[in-house]
Amino acid sequence: MTNETSTDLPAPSPPVTPRHGAGLLLRVVPPGLYAGRAHVLVERSYLVSRRGWMSVISGFFEPLFFLFSLGYGLGQLVTTVEGPGGPVPYAVFVAPALLAASAMNGAVFEATFNLFFKFKYAKTYDAVLATPLGPVDIALGEAAWCLIRGGLYSAGFIAVMLGFGLISSPWALLALPACLLVALAFAAVGMAAATFMRSWQDFDLVQLAVMPLFLFSTTFYPLSVYPGWLQAVVQWTPLYHAIELMRALTTGYVGWGALTHVAYFAVMVVIGVVVAARRLGKLLLT
């Protein structure tokens, strides 16, 4: 009754088993949540962005607009500001801060809004989870894509800074890896935060955290503007550390203190990753 036409039939093949090359993570995270294949998510994001490249490119312009407006417009209202090694032109002062702030903004946006939208509304991950991939693959894949994109934006911005003579030290070569570290730290914490969100209403709280950081972490004016107790508060916030780090690297006044900043972000990464990995399973598998 059935004449086997083998072309229609998917031929039997050896079972596909998850890759075991991914060592450490496979042992750290709870079993069943990770298949070591996060890179496919990056491939997917790349395919999607190829179709919507305009919106990817456009992300590069936002910090540039800020730089031109603040550096040149405001730069004529304020000639010099107290920088790491003495008074500097306003553009030199504000550019590294914008670099750090855009690394933060991009990472937080991707890690919270986009992640939440994809799993809650677009249901993008439902299908992914029916394959060998687990929630941790998704988290890593999305984080990696977020870093790749963020890294490109940062590199572009650093190039523009260089072109306008806003960089005065070879230390600035380290600004790009520093940006990636900052982005990773904010993405990890953002993702951890996203796992606690129930609805869009909660995203206002993200705004509530990010916006004051952007505005008050000595982005636009030096720390000395604040009264003493407020200075102490600001010095504990993450974007302050990122801005200090970038300012040090682009102006060349790098001391051992820079390691404090790096340590700060390393701690953020660890906390964010641990919390996110633990909670993501709960969130995605119901």
Partner: protein, 316 residues
């Protein structure tokens, strides 16, 4: 000959083993302790009214939903610890299509194949083959979003075959398909089964269940109400024939014919009389002077079993 496992053992292995399996959503018990065994090469069906817990069960078997309690082994492994390994060998068609709307038809198949670790060249070939299968070749580079509901369904089904699964889980696969597409799919599923793929299907179409399933269970309220092959179930829970009577609206009660059959089922639009001899029952109805608008004698089907087990029968 290409399957070494078949040569080593002559006992058909159990692909899905569930014992006392439960699923709770908060305090709500969607699945309340079910026992299911599915053997290799079988086509196994879940029937049941809306909310019976079919999809919840399917999602646990496909290792995307952790069980609340009980035993569950799929392909001999525990979903809790070996989820990725199990999912690598199964294909899943969820009740709701969850295609990637940011990708094209072809990219949907290709990217999905990549999730299974297939090489780029392999997924390219596979995607072409599966688009043929789903009759979507002309739409290969189109967006997924504007496809018709049935096309999306076909794409979802095609996608589930990308990894050549040993076990295929289909949650209401033919909902939204036109009759041609349904028959085509039945044919493809039948062939997959011939080639050794195990099928688990939920459906609301009794003809589909009768056509495809070797064995099925009827679920109701999170429990299993009956289990067996379609013909067994019909034998056990229904009579040989059924007499269907239609009355003008508001004039049917079933009372006047209640004693003419083993069992009488009063539906909103007709009265069913379960009896070994439908023609004899019809003669008796006429002899009583009861005048239905129309009447029909037919053989019992799974639908009758379904009504018996999950409906609110007035006479038993």
């Amino acid at each position: 000959m290409s399957d070494p496992a078949a040569n080593v053992t002559n006992v058909t292995p159990t692909l899905v083993h569930a014992k006392g399996l439960t699923k709770h959503f908060g305090s709500f018990e969607a699945v309340r302790g079910i026992d299911v065994e599915v053997s290799k090469g079988e086509a196994f069906g879940f029937l049941g009214p809306n909310g019976a817990g079919k999809s919840s069960t399917m999602r646990m078997v496909s290792c995307v939903s952790p069980r609340t309690g009980g035993e569950l082994r799929v392909l001999g492994m525990d979903p809790e610890t070996d989820g990725p390994k199990i999912r690598a060998r199964i294909g899943v068609v969820p009740q709701q299509d969850n295609l990637d709307t940011e990708l094209t038809v072809r990219q949907n198949l290709q990217v999905y194949g990549r999730y299974f670790g297939l090489s780029r060249s392999a997924v390219r070939a596979k995607a072409t083959e599966l688009m043929e299968f789903a009759q979507l070749t002309e739409r290969a580079d189109a967006e997924v979003e504007p496809l018709s509901g049935g096309m999306k369904r076909r794409l979802t089904i095609a996608r589930s075959l990308v990894n050549d699964p040993d076990l295929l889980l289909l949650d209401e696969p033919t909902t939204g398909l036109d009759p041609q597409a349904r028959h085509l799919l039945w044919d493809r599923l039948f062939r997959l089964k011939q080639s050794g793929v195990t099928l688990i299907i939920t459906t609301h179409y009794m003809d589909e269940a009768e056509q495809l399933c070797d064995r099925l269970v009827v679920m109701d309220g999170g429990r299993i109400a009956a289990e067996g092959s379609p013909s067994e179930l019909i034998r056990r829970y229904s009579t040989k024939e059924v007499l269907e009577l239609r009355f003008p609206p508001g004039e049917q009660s079933g009372d006047e014919v209640r004693d003419l059959a083993e069992r009488v089922e009063v539906l909103p639009d007709r009265v069913l009389l379960y009896t070994a001899d439908g023609d004899a029952a019809l003669a008796a109805v006429h002899a009583r002077g009861v005048r239905p608008v129309s009447s029909l004698v037919r053989r019992s089907t799974l639908e009758d079993v379904f009504l018996r087990l999950t409906g609110r029968t007035l006479v038993d």
